[in-house]
Each structure stands twice: as structure tokens, then as C-alpha cells.
Amino acid sequence: METTTAPTETVGESKTLVRGNALEKTYGSRLPLGRSTPVLTGADIEVRAGEIVGIVGENGSGKSTLMKILVGVLDHDVGTVERTGTIGWCPQEPLLYDRLTVSETFRLFGAGYGMSREEIDAAKRRLADELDFERYLDYRVDQLSGGNRQKVNLSIALMHDPDVLMLDEPYTGFDWETYLRFWDMAQDLADDGTAVVMISHLIEERSRLDRVFEVRDGLVHDVTDEETVSELRSDREGDDE
């Protein structure tokens, strides 16, 4: 297993910010005779500045595993990961502390990013305004609705203006207005040079994505100009009806 933060080269006009090479990951069992599950068997992926990349795949295909490895929160067995710049990660399940208020949550994570008190406050106000949760800043996380919790979860990933944004189904629980606002924000970030990587299940979102990778059979396939297995299945089901 190898992870570096060395600068990666520029491809065309865009700089590669994250690259995973020949990644392998098997989940083992704690029990001696338990089953081990291979998830990634040599996955390659690279993400460039200023693009919005979608990661698709069937349930259990290894999308979240791949993202966690790229973020650095999960160890891989074989392969290399190279990262450049700062990372923002929005996990699928909000990983927040239930008994902290929203403001305290910003302070805790902002300190981790190395931000000053003023920068944390500014980021909190800006994101609360954009995602419309200002009135909940003094609420405890466990008192928030699922959608508002997800807004905070997303905001924590965004608050330090990262170079790479890794989002695992970030809009779960969002209402339509917030969903649209989220896509505006993602597009603005990409326009400013941020690489946005997003795990997505929604086929309608393909038009918003610059590139699409499908995780299938433990490998990553570039399917930007193709239909994915799930889309083909969806088409077939549509034809049958």
C-alpha cells in the first residue's frame, strides 16, 4: 500500500489532482473461517482540476470503498494513491457528532483544516446562507432533520474551499430547491478549478458530469461516452413495459 502527496503531472490544460493506480481491496472476516470479499481488483482512476466526475455502479460494486481509499480514510491492500492539494470529503452517512451544535461542528472541523476563528465563522455564515440552514446553527446535530443534517455534512466538506471535493451521494434527503442549489455550487466550484468527484445513482445527472466512471467487477471503466450496465438494464426494463 502506498500513498503520496507528491505533485502529479498536467494532462492537456488540466492538472491531475488525484490518481489511483492498480488499487486492490478485499474485506476480510474477523473470524478464521469467515468469508473474505474482494471489492477492488486493480482499479485505476485519475481526476483532474476543474472537472465534475461521476462514479456510478451497482449496489456493492465498490464505489464508496474506492472513494474512501482515494480520500485516505480506508487503507488499500495493493496499488498507489497520489493526491495533490486539499481534500473535502462528504461521506454517504453524515459522520457528525450528534451532541454538538452545528456551530460547534464547524469549529471542530475548521480547526482540523487549520482555519482561523474568523475564517471558520465566515465559512459557516456563507454555507448556512447558501444551503439555507442559518436558523439551525445553535441546534444540536441530533435535533436536525435528515436533510439539514446532510447539508451540514456537505458544508463540512466544503468549508475550507478544497482543491478536490469527494462526495458520496451528497444530496440524499435534499428538497428540490436545495438539490438545484447544490448543483449550482458544484458547477461554480468546478469553474474555479476544484475537482468534484461524486458517487451518483441518478442517470438524469449525466448531462452535468464531465466524465463518468463505472465501478464494475472490481475495476474502474471510463463510460463517459457509453451507457453503463445499470442504464442498459434500466433501458431494457423500460422497453419491456
Binding site: 470529503w89 459522520l95 454538538l100 480547526a111 482561523s116
Partner: protein
């Protein structure tokens, strides 16, 4: 602009978070009164032979049964609550502390903050338990008694963290309920085990600190300073183990 200190922030916010854990606060209010005060209230005031350590030798002295119960029930109470605090802390940390590493916290900063929170909770637990005990019973050498109880309670807090990393919440609750009871309340209780405990009973975390508490609670001379050192060594060993499982647990988010 100066960035916010990570360890201090995680420590301060962690304290607030655990102060809002109403289960822990309720245990802190209810358990000392129900365990310690009731133990004094229902124990018959008769003289009992108690094994202790005097001038380098194990010997038996006659003491009132309520006093002996005080010496035993107080550390059971604080060890139980500290153990649960460690368990809760680890269960929550497993879920979320991995994200702190992604945002830039170093492992040592989070570990220092989490262990600092556990130390403060244990101090409060020991303070409340001793305070409740003092209503009915005054140890002969209070500060040595408190020192041994703090060492034992922190050890149990760290064991709670270890158990929280390995078992789920329900299994962990049962283990942390039973372990202090059988260790302190059975194997180390000089009323139950009148002679020197068997070798395997000495492997339990309560052996050395309870020797100090029986000695300093019931006699006027300190004959078990070495045991306090061994108890501290046991604490360090469990602490290293807890750091290791914490580090591994928070990596596997």
C-alpha cells in the same frame, strides 16, 4: 490569522459533548447514591476479619463491615461509570473520529483530546464517588486512597475503550457491568477472599489498587506504596493497548 489549536479545540468540544450525554450524567447522580449510600445503610455493623498488608506481611485485622463495604463499593462505582464512559467514547469515536483525520487532525492530537476527556470524566466520577462515601466513612489516609481509586478508575476507563473497539454497545455494556463487579467486588474483596488471592485473580486490574485502598482506608500506615506503582504500570499497559485499538478502530471507517 492564527489557526485554532486542534488538540485544545477537540478536547474542549469533546468535554461539552460528553457533558450532554444524559445517560452518563444520570449514572453519575444515581449510581454513587444507590451503590455507596445504600451499601452503608443496609450493612450490619459487626466486626469482620479483613486481610491487609502490614509491615511487608499479609495479616488480618478486625474492622466494621460497613467500613469494608465502603472501601469496596466506592471503587466499584467509579470503575463502573468510568468504564462506561470509555466504552461510549470509543463507540462514538469509531464512527466519526476517522473524519477528523481526513480534515487534518493528527492521530496524536485526537488521541490526546479523547484521553484528556476520559481523564476529566474520571476525575469527576472519582470526586463524586469519594464525596458520597465521605458522608458515611472517612478513610484513614484519604489522599492515598483517592490516588489508588483514580488509578483504578482510569484503568477501567481505558478497558472500556478497548471493549468498545472490540465489541458492540450491548455486549460492551454487559462486560463493563460484570467486570468491575467480579474483579473488585469478588476477587479483591477481603471479606470474600480471606487469604492471599489466587495468581489469576492478581491479573485483574483491581488487584494492586484495591490492596492500596484496603490498606489506606482501614489502617493508619502506608504499606502498599509499591502496589500503587504496579497499579500505575498496569494503567500504562492498558493505555498503550487502548491507543493501539483506538488508532486501528478509527482507521476502519
Amino acid at each position: 490569522m492564527v489557526s485554532v489549536n486542534r488538540t485544545a479545540t477537540a478536547f474542549g468540544i469533546g468535554l461539552r459533548e460528553h457533558a450532554r450525554n444524559y445517560v452518563l450524567v444520570a449514572l453519575l447522580v444515581i449510581l454513587p447514591v444507590s451503590f455507596i449510600t445504600l451499601a452503608f445503610a443496609v450493612t450490619q455493623d459487626v466486626q469482620m476479619p479483613v486481610r491487609t498488608f502490614v509491615d511487608g506481611e499479609t495479616t488480618t485485622v478486625m474492622r466494621g463491615m460497613p467500613e469494608v463495604h465502603g472501601v469496596i463499593m466506592t471503587p466499584i462505582t467509579s470503575s463502573f461509570i468510568a468504564g462506561l464512559a470509555g466504552l461510549f467514547l470509543m463507540r462514538e469515536a469509531r464512527d466519526t473520529d476517522g473524519r477528523l483525520a481526513v480534515v487534518g487532525y493528527r492521530a496524536r492530537q485526537v488521541i490526546a483530546a479523547r484521553f484528556g476527556v476520559l481523564a476529566v470524566i474520571t476525575l469527576v466520577v472519582v470526586g463524586v464517588s469519594v464525596g458520597v462515601m465521605l458522608i458515611d466513612f472517612q478513610p484513614e489516609q484519604l489522599w492515598w486512597f483517592v490516588a489508588a481509586m483514580f488509578v483504578l478508575s482510569v484503568t477501567y476507563g481505558l478497558i472500556g475503550m478497548f471493549v468498545g473497539a472490540v465489541f458492540n454497545r450491548l455486549a460492551g455494556l454487559w462486560i463493563m457491568l460484570i467486570l468491575p463487579m467480579i474483579d473488585i467486588g469478588l476477587f479483591q474483596d477481603p471479606l470474600f477472599v480471606q487469604s492471599e488471592p489466587e495468581w489469576w485473580m492478581k491479573l485483574f486490574p483491581g488487584y494492586h489498587p484495591v490492596r492500596v485502598m484496603v490498606d489506606t482506608g482501614l489502617t493508619t500506615d502506608l504499606d502498599t506504596a509499591m502496589s500503587l506503582g504496579w497499579g500505575f504500570g498496569y494503567l500504562l499497559f492498558v493505555g498503550l493497548l487502548a491507543i493501539w485499538v483506538y488508532y486501528r478502530g478509527t482507521r476502519a471507517t
